[in-house]
Subunit: 153 residues, 2 copies
């Protein structure tokens, strides 16, 4: 675009790269919203649900705060208060490590584990219903291209 165009409404058609970005954002928002409609009635945000799944995968030893943050999908600079809220809801419990007293291990409570196990089926059903009009080959292609799309970052 030339300097003379800077104060006009003229702008070029979106490039293929931009189409990818917009389509990606729209699809993520659509699927995210639908999942929220399952999680919010249970008092969970998507981030909190991800923490439950992360901690379930970690087993009884739990994980320290930074390990939880690293495994989260979205960058989350305030894991402390996220875990505070989940501790207040009796979903997780924390205990300071004796090995390294800087570390605080967080693990699921029985209530948290039951909740995330209960949600497995409902969430899987939702994802299936949202995507069952695509073939397995298409889904595998989609995952492959999505993974490739972020491989540079």
């Amino acid at each position: 675009m030339s300097t003379a165009d800077r104060r006009t409404n003229k702008h070029s058609a979106p490039s293929l790269h931009q189409q990818v970005f917009v389509s990606l954002a729209r699809t993520e928002a659509t699927l995210h919203d639908a999942l929220d409609r399952v999680l919010v009635p249970r008092g969970l945000s998507l981030t909190q649900y991800n923490v439950l799944r992360i901690l379930r995968g970690a087993g009884a030893e739990g994980l320290c705060r930074n390990e939880v943050g690293e495994r989260l999908i979205t960058r989350m600079p305030d894991v402390t208060r996220l875990l505070d809220r989940m501790e207040a809801a009796d979903l997780v419990t924390r205990s300071r490590s004796t090995d390294d007293r800087r570390l605080v291990n967080t693990m699921l409570t029985k209530k948290g584990l039951t909740l995330v196990n209960d949600l497995d089926h409902e969430v899987d059903q939702l994802h299936r219903s949202q995507l069952d009009h695509l073939s397995a080959a298409d889904l595998r292609t989609l995952v492959r291209l999505l993974d490739a799309a972020r491989s540079k970052s």
Copy 2:
């Protein structure tokens, strides 16, 4: 999963549908974060940038609040204060319609138009650099599958 498993850490491997959801969320977060690093130094959130592009596309007449909200990528129940902040930053201006006095038309200021035009090149360069290791055919396939993935919702 059987009832007996509800309080265990046993859970099945993620289905293909779940892999799509996770990969989609991760890729969106990665690309979103990179774009934020371009926009935040200019004082913009991604949503505000989208509003600028929406209003540029609308031309001099502008759009009313609900029309802006409908065109946004993510559901946004508080467009009023979003536009308040952009008006305070002198990016948009508002005027109540005389035809239907319920409507308030929002349009870009000269500053807002210049800003969004200036960002075009930088944003496009970013998107290209993030995705230039994928072929055009792959990008077209990605857009097609992403569009298909949200077609049911």
